[in-house]
């Protein structure tokens, strides 16, 4: 069961809220302080991408963020409701490619590049009901938080 689940309307201003919530829950789950910046950035990238996908496709459905504390890991799933191949890691582009690319609309792919560069354990899937980016981080063995 999810530790915390968050749904927000696909508006850019809510992405910051998602970042703050994710970082707070990750801290409680025992994710190391040094890694929290990465959690914050990765969840922000995933949410920005989902917001962008919903808006370009005219979807009014909310973006879903599921934060789950497990025995030895902490995982975050960010789900969009855009069907089909929403994007796989193979489609990521580097910043260099973005500079050389003339249309300049490569932020989505650069977001995925940042996520894959930051997070060791990441899985991007897409299906009929939408796409999901699942990321997880190890937690220190004994969380002394109540």
């Amino acid at each position: 069961m999810a530790t915390v689940e968050l749904r927000f309307s696909a508006q850019p201003e809510h992405v910051r809220t998602a970042r703050l919530v994710a970082a707070a829950v990750a801290r409680r789950a025992g994710v190391e302080e040094a890694v929290l910046d990465e959690v914050r950035l990765a969840v922000g990238e995933a949410c920005s991408r989902a917001v962008g996908l919903h808006r370009t496709n005219g979807l009014t459905a909310p973006v879903r963020v599921v934060l789950t504390e497990e025995d030895k890991s902490f995982s975050i799933e960010v789900g969009d409701e855009v069907p089909g191949p929403g994007g796989s890691p193979a489609e990521t582009v580097s910043g260099l490619a973005a500079v050389q690319d003339s249309d300049g609309d490569t932020e989505d792919e650069m977001g995925l590049a940042v996520i894959s560069g930051l997070v060791d354990d990441v899985e991007v899937t897409s299906g009929e009901s939408g796409g999901t980016i699942r990321m997880s981080w190890p937690v220190s063995g004994s969380s002394d938080l109540p």
Binding site: E13, R19, E45, S48, A98
Partner: protein
């Protein structure tokens, strides 16, 4: 925290001091600022990121867009950044090879390469 922007001219360079968070919500403001500067004829920009608390790929996209704009006028866009967590994002995306990144504004303003 919101985004703060201020500009000043040093010689033939325009220094844009950015503070706060550059993300999907605030990046359009930075984009507007850079577009406006280029439209007004400022082609040598120094973006001071020392007071930036958060930067994501949307922000990177805006900086890349700014670089393309100044390059179209044979200009330059230099960054000032010492924060490891911000520099890391430039490294991950390969953008350290694209942007000259300086440790101080003075350095960036005086750079000629």
């Amino acid at each position: 925290m919101d985004l703060s922007l201020s500009t000043r001219t040093v010689g033939d360079r325009t220094v844009v001091e950015v503070g706060g968070e550059i993300d999907v919500y605030t990046a359009p403001k930075l984009r507007e600022q850079l577009v406006e500067l280029v439209n007004d004829g400022s082609y040598h920009l120094v973006v001071d990121m020392e007071r930036v608390d958060f930067l994501d790929s949307t922000g990177l996209g805006v900086l890349v867009g700014g670089l393309k704009r100044v390059r179209a006028h044979e200009g330059s866009l230099r960054l000032v950044c010492n924060q490891e967590r911000i520099l890391k994002i430039f490294r991950i995306t390969g953008l350290t090879k694209v942007f000259p990144i300086h440790t101080t504004v003075d350095d960036a303003v005086n750079a000629t390469d």
